[in-house]
Protein backbone atom coordinates (compact mmCIF):
# COMPACT_ATOMS: atom_id res chain seq x y z
CA UNK A 1 0.00 0.00 0.00
CA UNK A 2 2.72 2.40 0.99
CA UNK A 3 4.49 1.89 -2.32
CA UNK A 4 1.33 2.71 -4.21
CA UNK A 5 0.85 5.80 -2.11
CA UNK A 6 4.40 6.98 -2.77
CA UNK A 7 4.05 6.24 -6.47
CA UNK A 8 0.85 8.25 -6.60
CA UNK A 9 2.43 11.16 -4.80
CA UNK A 10 5.43 11.07 -7.11
CA UNK A 11 3.19 11.03 -10.18
CA UNK A 12 1.13 13.95 -8.91
CA UNK A 13 4.17 16.08 -8.06
CA UNK A 14 5.79 15.39 -11.42
CA UNK A 15 2.58 16.22 -13.22
CA UNK A 16 2.18 19.46 -11.30
CA UNK A 17 5.81 20.48 -11.83
CA UNK A 18 5.65 19.59 -15.51
CA UNK A 19 2.49 21.62 -15.93
CA UNK A 20 3.99 24.57 -14.11
CA UNK A 21 7.06 24.40 -16.37
CA UNK A 22 4.89 24.38 -19.49
CA UNK A 23 2.84 27.33 -18.21
CA UNK A 24 6.09 29.17 -17.49
CA UNK A 25 7.30 28.53 -21.04
CA UNK A 26 3.97 29.56 -22.55
CA UNK A 27 3.89 32.81 -20.58
CA UNK A 28 7.50 33.57 -21.47
CA UNK A 29 6.85 32.97 -25.18
CA UNK A 30 3.83 35.30 -25.06
CA UNK A 31 5.92 38.01 -23.44
CA UNK A 32 8.51 37.74 -26.24
CA UNK A 33 5.94 39.21 -28.61
CA UNK A 34 4.80 41.97 -26.25
CA UNK A 35 6.96 45.05 -26.78
CA UNK A 36 9.00 46.79 -25.54
CA UNK A 37 11.93 44.42 -25.62
CA UNK A 38 14.69 45.11 -23.12
CA UNK A 39 17.55 45.35 -25.63
CA UNK A 40 20.34 46.17 -23.26
CA UNK A 41 19.51 43.27 -21.00
CA UNK A 42 19.36 40.95 -23.98
CA UNK A 43 22.76 42.11 -25.20
CA UNK A 44 24.21 41.65 -21.72
CA UNK A 45 22.77 38.12 -21.72
CA UNK A 46 24.22 37.35 -25.16
CA UNK A 47 27.56 38.51 -23.85
CA UNK A 48 27.18 36.29 -20.80
CA UNK A 49 25.89 33.16 -22.54
CA UNK A 50 27.78 33.59 -25.81
CA UNK A 51 30.95 35.63 -25.67
CA UNK A 52 32.01 34.36 -22.27
CA UNK A 53 31.55 30.73 -23.36
CA UNK A 54 33.89 31.13 -26.34
CA UNK A 55 37.03 29.76 -24.70
CA UNK A 56 35.28 26.66 -23.43
CA UNK A 57 33.67 26.08 -26.82
CA UNK A 58 36.97 26.54 -28.67
CA UNK A 59 38.78 24.09 -26.40
CA UNK A 60 36.10 21.41 -26.38
CA UNK A 61 35.49 21.91 -30.10
CA UNK A 62 39.07 21.43 -31.17
CA UNK A 63 39.63 18.38 -28.98
CA UNK A 64 36.35 16.77 -30.01
CA UNK A 65 37.44 17.20 -33.63
CA UNK A 66 40.87 15.72 -32.87
CA UNK A 67 39.42 12.71 -31.06
CA UNK A 68 36.99 12.16 -33.91
CA UNK A 69 39.82 12.41 -36.43
CA UNK A 70 41.77 9.77 -34.55
CA UNK A 71 38.96 7.30 -33.85
CA UNK A 72 37.16 7.60 -37.17
CA UNK A 73 40.46 7.22 -39.02
CA UNK A 74 41.20 4.05 -37.07
CA UNK A 75 37.76 2.63 -37.92
CA UNK A 76 37.89 3.68 -41.57
CA UNK A 77 41.32 2.10 -42.19
CA UNK A 78 39.70 -1.26 -41.36
CA UNK A 79 37.57 -0.84 -44.47
CA UNK A 80 40.30 0.89 -46.43
CA UNK A 81 38.20 4.02 -46.77
CA UNK A 82 40.28 6.64 -44.93
CA UNK A 83 39.43 9.04 -47.73
CA UNK A 84 36.04 9.58 -46.14
CA UNK A 85 37.52 10.92 -42.90
CA UNK A 86 36.59 14.51 -43.86
CA UNK A 87 32.85 13.96 -44.37
CA UNK A 88 32.67 11.52 -41.43
CA UNK A 89 34.12 14.08 -39.04
CA UNK A 90 32.11 16.95 -40.49
CA UNK A 91 28.78 15.09 -40.52
CA UNK A 92 29.22 13.81 -36.97
CA UNK A 93 30.01 17.29 -35.76
CA UNK A 94 27.41 19.22 -37.71
CA UNK A 95 24.51 16.82 -37.20
CA UNK A 96 25.13 15.58 -33.66
CA UNK A 97 28.13 16.41 -31.57
CA UNK A 98 28.34 20.11 -32.34
CA UNK A 99 24.87 21.10 -31.12
CA UNK A 100 24.78 18.55 -28.28
CA UNK A 101 28.23 19.07 -26.78
CA UNK A 102 27.97 22.79 -27.23
CA UNK A 103 24.63 22.85 -25.39
CA UNK A 104 26.01 20.67 -22.60
CA UNK A 105 29.07 22.89 -22.18
CA UNK A 106 27.02 26.10 -22.13
CA UNK A 107 24.60 24.54 -19.62
CA UNK A 108 27.50 23.84 -17.31
CA UNK A 109 29.12 27.21 -17.74
CA UNK A 110 26.27 29.68 -18.18
CA UNK A 111 23.05 27.81 -17.35
CA UNK A 112 24.06 27.07 -13.79
CA UNK A 113 25.03 30.70 -13.26
CA UNK A 114 21.70 31.88 -14.70
CA UNK A 115 19.75 29.69 -12.30
CA UNK A 116 21.84 30.85 -9.36
CA UNK A 117 21.46 34.51 -10.33
CA UNK A 118 17.68 34.38 -10.78
CA UNK A 119 17.36 32.17 -7.68
CA UNK A 120 19.24 34.69 -5.55
CA UNK A 121 17.06 37.47 -6.96
CA UNK A 122 14.05 35.43 -5.85
CA UNK A 123 15.23 34.75 -2.29
CA UNK A 124 16.43 38.34 -1.74
CA UNK A 125 13.00 39.58 -2.88
CA UNK A 126 14.39 41.36 -5.96
CA UNK A 127 11.74 39.64 -8.09
CA UNK A 128 9.05 40.77 -5.64
CA UNK A 129 10.53 44.27 -5.84
CA UNK A 130 10.13 44.25 -9.63
CA UNK A 131 6.52 43.15 -9.28
CA UNK A 132 5.88 45.70 -6.57
CA UNK A 133 7.03 48.38 -9.04
CA UNK A 134 4.46 46.97 -11.49
CA UNK A 135 7.28 45.72 -13.73
CA UNK A 136 6.96 42.23 -15.11
CA UNK A 137 9.84 39.89 -14.20
CA UNK A 138 9.19 37.88 -17.36
CA UNK A 139 10.01 40.91 -19.45
CA UNK A 140 13.06 41.87 -17.41
CA UNK A 141 14.62 38.52 -16.63
CA UNK A 142 13.23 35.68 -18.70
CA UNK A 143 12.54 37.07 -22.18
CA UNK A 144 16.02 38.60 -22.66
CA UNK A 145 17.61 35.34 -21.51
CA UNK A 146 15.56 33.12 -23.83
CA UNK A 147 16.21 35.38 -26.82
CA UNK A 148 19.91 35.48 -25.96
CA UNK A 149 19.91 31.68 -25.88
CA UNK A 150 18.24 31.53 -29.30
CA UNK A 151 20.89 33.85 -30.72
CA UNK A 152 23.98 32.57 -28.93
CA UNK A 153 23.49 28.80 -29.22
CA UNK A 154 23.54 28.51 -33.05
CA UNK A 155 26.54 30.84 -33.24
CA UNK A 156 28.47 28.91 -30.61
CA UNK A 157 27.55 25.66 -32.35
CA UNK A 158 28.82 27.00 -35.67
CA UNK A 159 32.13 27.92 -34.03
CA UNK A 160 32.28 24.52 -32.34
CA UNK A 161 31.73 22.76 -35.69
CA UNK A 162 34.33 24.86 -37.44
CA UNK A 163 37.14 24.40 -34.94
CA UNK A 164 36.16 20.72 -34.64
CA UNK A 165 36.59 20.24 -38.38
CA UNK A 166 40.00 21.88 -38.16
CA UNK A 167 40.83 19.67 -35.16
CA UNK A 168 40.05 16.64 -37.32
CA UNK A 169 42.15 18.18 -40.08
CA UNK A 170 45.07 18.57 -37.69
CA UNK A 171 45.01 14.90 -36.78
CA UNK A 172 43.90 13.42 -40.13
CA UNK A 173 45.98 15.52 -42.48
CA UNK A 174 48.95 16.77 -40.50
CA UNK A 175 49.45 13.73 -38.28
CA UNK A 176 48.08 10.72 -40.12
CA UNK A 177 48.86 11.84 -43.63
CA UNK A 178 45.56 12.06 -45.52
CA UNK A 179 45.69 14.50 -48.41
CA UNK A 180 44.40 17.98 -47.67
CA UNK A 181 42.37 17.94 -50.87
CA UNK A 182 40.81 14.61 -49.97
CA UNK A 183 39.82 15.80 -46.48
CA UNK A 184 38.03 18.95 -47.61
CA UNK A 185 37.07 17.77 -51.09
CA UNK A 186 35.07 14.76 -49.91
CA UNK A 187 33.51 16.94 -47.24
CA UNK A 188 32.19 19.27 -49.90
CA UNK A 189 30.66 16.33 -51.77
CA UNK A 190 28.92 14.68 -48.84
CA UNK A 191 27.86 17.48 -46.53
CA UNK A 192 24.60 18.98 -47.76
CA UNK A 193 22.56 21.98 -46.75
CA UNK A 194 20.08 19.66 -45.03
CA UNK A 195 22.75 18.53 -42.57
CA UNK A 196 23.61 22.09 -41.69
CA UNK A 197 19.94 23.05 -41.32
CA UNK A 198 19.40 20.13 -38.99
CA UNK A 199 22.35 21.20 -36.85
CA UNK A 200 21.07 24.77 -36.65
CA UNK A 201 17.52 23.66 -35.80
CA UNK A 202 18.89 21.48 -33.04
CA UNK A 203 21.00 24.23 -31.56
CA UNK A 204 18.06 26.65 -31.71
CA UNK A 205 15.86 24.22 -29.82
CA UNK A 206 18.64 23.60 -27.28
CA UNK A 207 19.00 27.35 -26.82
CA UNK A 208 15.32 27.56 -25.90
CA UNK A 209 15.41 24.42 -23.78
CA UNK A 210 18.44 25.35 -21.67
CA UNK A 211 17.39 28.96 -20.99
CA UNK A 212 13.83 27.83 -20.26
CA UNK A 213 14.84 25.15 -17.75
CA UNK A 214 17.47 27.33 -16.09
CA UNK A 215 15.20 30.39 -15.78
CA UNK A 216 12.34 28.24 -14.50
CA UNK A 217 14.45 26.55 -11.84
CA UNK A 218 15.80 29.91 -10.67
CA UNK A 219 12.38 31.53 -10.71
CA UNK A 220 10.81 28.86 -8.49
CA UNK A 221 13.79 28.24 -6.26
CA UNK A 222 13.35 27.05 -2.67
CA UNK A 223 14.34 28.93 0.45
CA UNK A 224 17.82 30.09 1.37
CA UNK A 225 21.24 29.11 0.11
CA UNK A 226 20.25 25.45 0.12
CA UNK A 227 17.26 26.16 -2.10
CA UNK A 228 19.42 27.97 -4.65
CA UNK A 229 22.07 25.27 -4.66
CA UNK A 230 19.42 22.60 -5.19
CA UNK A 231 17.79 24.62 -7.96
CA UNK A 232 21.16 25.03 -9.69
CA UNK A 233 21.92 21.31 -9.57
CA UNK A 234 18.44 20.43 -10.78
CA UNK A 235 18.69 22.93 -13.61
CA UNK A 236 21.96 21.46 -14.88
CA UNK A 237 20.83 17.85 -14.54
CA UNK A 238 17.41 18.42 -16.09
CA UNK A 239 18.84 20.50 -18.97
CA UNK A 240 21.49 17.90 -19.73
CA UNK A 241 19.04 15.00 -19.72
CA UNK A 242 16.48 16.90 -21.79
CA UNK A 243 19.17 17.88 -24.32
CA UNK A 244 19.99 14.23 -25.01
CA UNK A 245 16.36 13.05 -25.01
CA UNK A 246 15.27 15.89 -27.26
CA UNK A 247 18.27 15.31 -29.51
CA UNK A 248 17.13 11.75 -30.14
CA UNK A 249 13.58 12.76 -30.99
CA UNK A 250 14.57 15.66 -33.24
CA UNK A 251 17.13 13.41 -34.90
CA UNK A 252 14.63 10.67 -35.58
CA UNK A 253 12.06 13.10 -36.97
CA UNK A 254 14.48 15.09 -39.13
CA UNK A 255 16.64 12.21 -40.39
Amino acid sequence: MRILWLLGEWALTSLRDGGRMMIFLGTALCWIFLPPLKWRRMIARIHFIGAKSLLVILLTGVFTGMVLGLQVFYTLTKFGSEAFLGPAVALTLIRELGPVLCALMVTGRAGSALTAEIGIMRITEQIDALQAMALNPMRYLVVPTILAGLIAFPLLTAIFDLVGIYGGYLVGVKLLGIGEGTYFGEMETYVGLGDITQGILKSLSFGLLVTWVCCYKGFYTGYGAEGVSRATTEAVVLSSVLILVWDYFVGSVLL
Partner: protein
Protein backbone atom coordinates in the same frame (compact mmCIF):
# COMPACT_ATOMS: atom_id res chain seq x y z
CA UNK B 1 -11.87 61.98 2.57
CA UNK B 2 -14.10 59.76 4.64
CA UNK B 3 -13.39 56.29 5.94
CA UNK B 4 -10.07 54.48 6.12
CA UNK B 5 -7.60 54.60 3.21
CA UNK B 6 -6.72 50.94 3.56
CA UNK B 7 -9.04 48.37 5.03
CA UNK B 8 -8.59 44.63 5.41
CA UNK B 9 -11.77 42.76 6.32
CA UNK B 10 -11.78 39.25 7.69
CA UNK B 11 -8.76 38.17 5.59
CA UNK B 12 -7.86 34.49 5.65
CA UNK B 13 -4.81 32.94 4.02
CA UNK B 14 -3.22 29.55 4.36
CA UNK B 15 -0.22 27.89 2.74
CA UNK B 16 -0.30 24.14 2.27
CA UNK B 17 -2.80 23.60 5.08
CA UNK B 18 -1.04 25.98 7.46
CA UNK B 19 -3.22 28.94 8.38
CA UNK B 20 -1.22 32.16 8.45
CA UNK B 21 -3.95 34.80 8.48
CA UNK B 22 -7.20 33.93 10.21
CA UNK B 23 -9.80 36.62 10.03
CA UNK B 24 -7.53 39.64 10.02
CA UNK B 25 -9.17 43.06 10.32
CA UNK B 26 -7.12 46.19 9.91
CA UNK B 27 -7.80 49.83 9.08
CA UNK B 28 -5.30 52.47 8.11
CA UNK B 29 -6.13 56.17 7.97
CA UNK B 30 -4.65 58.41 5.33
CA UNK B 31 -1.39 60.07 6.35
CA UNK B 32 -0.74 58.04 9.48
CA UNK B 33 2.19 55.82 10.41
CA UNK B 34 0.85 52.43 11.43
CA UNK B 35 3.31 49.99 12.94
CA UNK B 36 2.44 46.30 13.01
CA UNK B 37 4.15 44.30 15.71
CA UNK B 38 3.99 40.59 16.36
CA UNK B 39 6.09 37.47 16.49
CA UNK B 40 8.32 36.33 13.65
CA UNK B 41 6.38 34.03 11.38
CA UNK B 42 3.12 35.54 12.60
CA UNK B 43 2.04 36.60 9.13
CA UNK B 44 3.33 40.19 9.07
CA UNK B 45 5.19 39.90 5.76
CA UNK B 46 2.28 37.94 4.33
CA UNK B 47 0.01 40.82 5.29
CA UNK B 48 2.20 43.30 3.40
CA UNK B 49 2.29 41.04 0.34
CA UNK B 50 -1.50 41.01 0.29
CA UNK B 51 -1.55 44.80 0.19
CA UNK B 52 0.84 44.84 -2.80
CA UNK B 53 -1.28 42.26 -4.58
CA UNK B 54 1.60 39.76 -4.57
CA UNK B 55 -0.67 37.33 -2.69
CA UNK B 56 -4.41 36.87 -2.93
CA UNK B 57 -6.54 36.19 0.15
CA UNK B 58 -8.35 32.87 0.38
CA UNK B 59 -11.25 34.71 1.93
CA UNK B 60 -12.05 38.28 2.93
CA UNK B 61 -11.61 41.67 1.33
CA UNK B 62 -8.89 44.27 0.96
CA UNK B 63 -10.16 47.73 0.13
CA UNK B 64 -7.91 50.62 -0.81
CA UNK B 65 -9.58 54.01 -1.30
CA UNK B 66 -12.91 52.27 -1.68
CA UNK B 67 -11.63 49.82 -4.32
CA UNK B 68 -11.67 46.07 -3.67
CA UNK B 69 -8.21 45.02 -4.79
CA UNK B 70 -7.87 41.34 -4.07
CA UNK B 71 -9.31 40.24 -7.41
CA UNK B 72 -7.57 42.84 -9.58
CA UNK B 73 -5.45 41.60 -12.48
CA UNK B 74 -3.21 42.93 -15.25
CA UNK B 75 -3.39 46.64 -15.95
CA UNK B 76 -5.57 47.46 -12.93
CA UNK B 77 -3.22 45.64 -10.62
CA UNK B 78 -0.28 47.55 -12.10
CA UNK B 79 -2.09 50.83 -11.49
CA UNK B 80 -2.66 49.81 -7.88
CA UNK B 81 0.98 48.87 -7.40
CA UNK B 82 2.12 52.20 -8.77
CA UNK B 83 0.53 53.85 -5.75
CA UNK B 84 2.73 51.84 -3.40
CA UNK B 85 6.37 52.18 -2.46
CA UNK B 86 7.93 49.19 -0.78
CA UNK B 87 11.00 48.93 1.43
CA UNK B 88 11.79 45.21 1.53
CA UNK B 89 13.33 43.40 4.45
CA UNK B 90 16.84 43.02 3.02
CA UNK B 91 16.46 46.08 0.80
CA UNK B 92 15.92 43.93 -2.32
CA UNK B 93 18.21 46.24 -4.29
CA UNK B 94 19.11 45.00 -7.75
CA UNK B 95 22.68 43.90 -7.27
CA UNK B 96 23.61 44.25 -10.91
CA UNK B 97 22.92 47.99 -10.69
CA UNK B 98 24.73 50.71 -8.75
CA UNK B 99 23.09 52.56 -5.87
CA UNK B 100 22.30 55.46 -8.18
CA UNK B 101 20.88 53.22 -10.91
CA UNK B 102 18.72 51.45 -8.34
CA UNK B 103 17.12 54.73 -7.31
CA UNK B 104 16.81 55.88 -10.92
CA UNK B 105 15.45 52.49 -12.08
CA UNK B 106 11.71 53.13 -11.50
CA UNK B 107 12.01 56.53 -13.23
CA UNK B 108 13.83 55.06 -16.22
CA UNK B 109 11.38 52.20 -16.58
CA UNK B 110 8.10 53.88 -15.72
CA UNK B 111 8.42 57.46 -16.97
CA UNK B 112 9.52 59.20 -20.14
CA UNK B 113 11.47 61.86 -18.28
CA UNK B 114 14.67 63.05 -19.98
CA UNK B 115 17.91 61.65 -18.55
CA UNK B 116 18.77 65.04 -17.07
CA UNK B 117 15.58 65.17 -14.97
CA UNK B 118 16.03 61.56 -13.87
CA UNK B 119 19.58 62.26 -12.68
CA UNK B 120 18.47 65.30 -10.78
CA UNK B 121 15.55 63.54 -9.09
CA UNK B 122 17.57 60.46 -8.14
CA UNK B 123 20.38 62.64 -6.74
CA UNK B 124 17.90 64.67 -4.68
CA UNK B 125 16.51 61.46 -3.21
CA UNK B 126 19.97 60.11 -2.45
CA UNK B 127 20.80 63.41 -0.78
CA UNK B 128 17.65 63.17 1.35
CA UNK B 129 18.79 59.83 2.71
CA UNK B 130 22.34 61.13 3.14
CA UNK B 131 23.99 59.06 0.43
CA UNK B 132 24.71 61.62 -2.28
CA UNK B 133 28.34 60.50 -2.67
CA UNK B 134 27.58 56.75 -2.67
CA UNK B 135 25.77 56.64 -6.00
CA UNK B 136 28.55 54.91 -7.93
CA UNK B 137 28.86 51.97 -5.50
CA UNK B 138 27.16 48.61 -5.89
CA UNK B 139 24.78 47.36 -3.18
CA UNK B 140 27.31 44.70 -2.15
CA UNK B 141 29.88 47.44 -1.43
CA UNK B 142 27.83 49.45 1.07
CA UNK B 143 26.83 48.71 4.65
CA UNK B 144 23.50 47.23 5.76
CA UNK B 145 22.27 50.57 7.04
CA UNK B 146 23.11 52.25 3.74
CA UNK B 147 21.31 49.53 1.79
CA UNK B 148 18.16 50.15 3.82
CA UNK B 149 18.43 53.86 3.12
CA UNK B 150 18.90 53.25 -0.60
CA UNK B 151 15.83 51.01 -0.51
CA UNK B 152 13.94 53.83 1.19
CA UNK B 153 15.04 56.30 -1.50
CA UNK B 154 14.02 53.87 -4.25
CA UNK B 155 10.63 53.30 -2.64
CA UNK B 156 9.95 57.05 -2.66
CA UNK B 157 11.08 57.64 -6.27
CA UNK B 158 7.63 57.43 -7.78
CA UNK B 159 6.04 59.59 -5.04
CA UNK B 160 3.79 56.83 -3.69
CA UNK B 161 0.69 57.47 -1.61
CA UNK B 162 1.37 54.48 0.60
CA UNK B 163 4.78 53.19 1.69
CA UNK B 164 5.15 49.69 3.08
CA UNK B 165 8.14 48.93 5.28
CA UNK B 166 9.05 45.32 5.94
CA UNK B 167 11.31 45.44 9.00
CA UNK B 168 13.27 48.48 7.82
CA UNK B 169 15.67 48.38 10.77
CA UNK B 170 16.17 44.69 11.51
CA UNK B 171 19.81 43.77 11.96
CA UNK B 172 21.06 47.32 12.44
CA UNK B 173 22.82 48.82 15.44
CA UNK B 174 20.73 50.99 17.84
CA UNK B 175 22.16 54.25 16.54
CA UNK B 176 21.30 53.30 12.97
CA UNK B 177 17.82 52.16 14.06
CA UNK B 178 17.10 55.60 15.46
CA UNK B 179 18.70 57.31 12.49
CA UNK B 180 16.47 55.38 10.07
CA UNK B 181 13.40 56.06 12.19
CA UNK B 182 14.19 59.74 12.27
CA UNK B 183 14.71 59.69 8.51
CA UNK B 184 11.34 58.01 7.98
CA UNK B 185 9.62 60.56 10.24
CA UNK B 186 11.35 63.40 8.45
CA UNK B 187 10.40 62.15 4.98
CA UNK B 188 6.88 61.39 6.18
CA UNK B 189 6.48 64.95 7.37
CA UNK B 190 7.87 66.34 4.12
CA UNK B 191 6.24 64.01 1.58
CA UNK B 192 3.10 63.07 3.49
CA UNK B 193 2.69 59.43 2.56
CA UNK B 194 0.74 56.86 4.53
CA UNK B 195 3.12 54.39 6.14
CA UNK B 196 2.47 50.79 7.10
CA UNK B 197 5.48 49.35 8.86
CA UNK B 198 6.23 45.91 10.17
CA UNK B 199 8.84 46.11 12.92
CA UNK B 200 10.29 44.39 15.95
CA UNK B 201 11.93 47.45 17.40
CA UNK B 202 10.33 47.80 20.80
CA UNK B 203 10.33 50.38 22.36
CA UNK B 204 11.73 52.55 19.53
CA UNK B 205 8.64 52.24 17.33
CA UNK B 206 6.46 53.83 20.02
CA UNK B 207 8.32 57.04 19.26
CA UNK B 208 7.39 57.16 15.58
CA UNK B 209 4.04 55.37 15.28
CA UNK B 210 0.71 57.17 15.18
CA UNK B 211 -0.92 53.82 15.84
CA UNK B 212 0.33 50.35 16.68
CA UNK B 213 -1.40 47.07 15.82
CA UNK B 214 -0.47 43.80 17.46
CA UNK B 215 -0.72 40.74 15.23
CA UNK B 216 -1.03 37.38 16.92
CA UNK B 217 -2.02 34.03 15.41
CA UNK B 218 -3.05 35.64 12.14
CA UNK B 219 -5.35 38.29 13.55
CA UNK B 220 -5.06 41.77 15.04
CA UNK B 221 -5.54 41.36 18.78
CA UNK B 222 -5.28 45.03 19.61
CA UNK B 223 -4.73 48.31 17.79
CA UNK B 224 -4.39 51.78 19.21
CA UNK B 225 -2.12 54.70 19.96
CA UNK B 226 1.35 53.86 21.28
CA UNK B 227 0.24 54.99 24.73
CA UNK B 228 -2.82 52.76 24.67
CA UNK B 229 -0.78 49.77 23.52
CA UNK B 230 1.86 50.35 26.19
CA UNK B 231 -0.87 50.54 28.81
CA UNK B 232 -2.77 47.57 27.41
CA UNK B 233 -4.26 45.04 29.78
CA UNK B 234 -4.26 42.32 27.12
CA UNK B 235 -1.83 39.65 28.39
CA UNK B 236 -0.63 38.84 24.83
CA UNK B 237 0.29 42.47 24.16
CA UNK B 238 1.80 42.88 27.60
CA UNK B 239 3.98 39.83 27.18
CA UNK B 240 5.14 40.86 23.71
CA UNK B 241 6.17 44.40 24.60
CA UNK B 242 7.95 43.32 27.75
CA UNK B 243 9.60 40.37 25.98
CA UNK B 244 8.69 37.99 28.79
CA UNK B 245 9.33 34.36 27.77
CA UNK B 246 6.57 33.25 30.20
CA UNK B 247 2.93 33.96 29.36
CA UNK B 248 0.15 33.25 26.88
CA UNK B 249 2.57 33.34 23.89
CA UNK B 250 4.71 30.21 23.96
CA UNK B 251 8.13 30.34 22.29
CA UNK B 252 8.28 27.37 19.91
Amino acid sequence: MSGPMVEMRNVHKSFGGQQVLRGLDLQVTQGEILVIIGRSGGGKSVLLKHLMGLLKPDQGQIVINGQEISRLRGRELDQLRERFGVVFQGGALFDSLTVFENVAFPLREKTRLPEEAIREKALTLLKQVGLADMGHKYPAEVSGGMRKRVALARALTMEPEIVLFDEPTTGLDPIMVNAIHRLILDLHRRVGFTAIMVSHEIPEIFGIADRVAMLHRGAVVEAGTPEAIQASANPVVRQFITGDPEGPIQPD
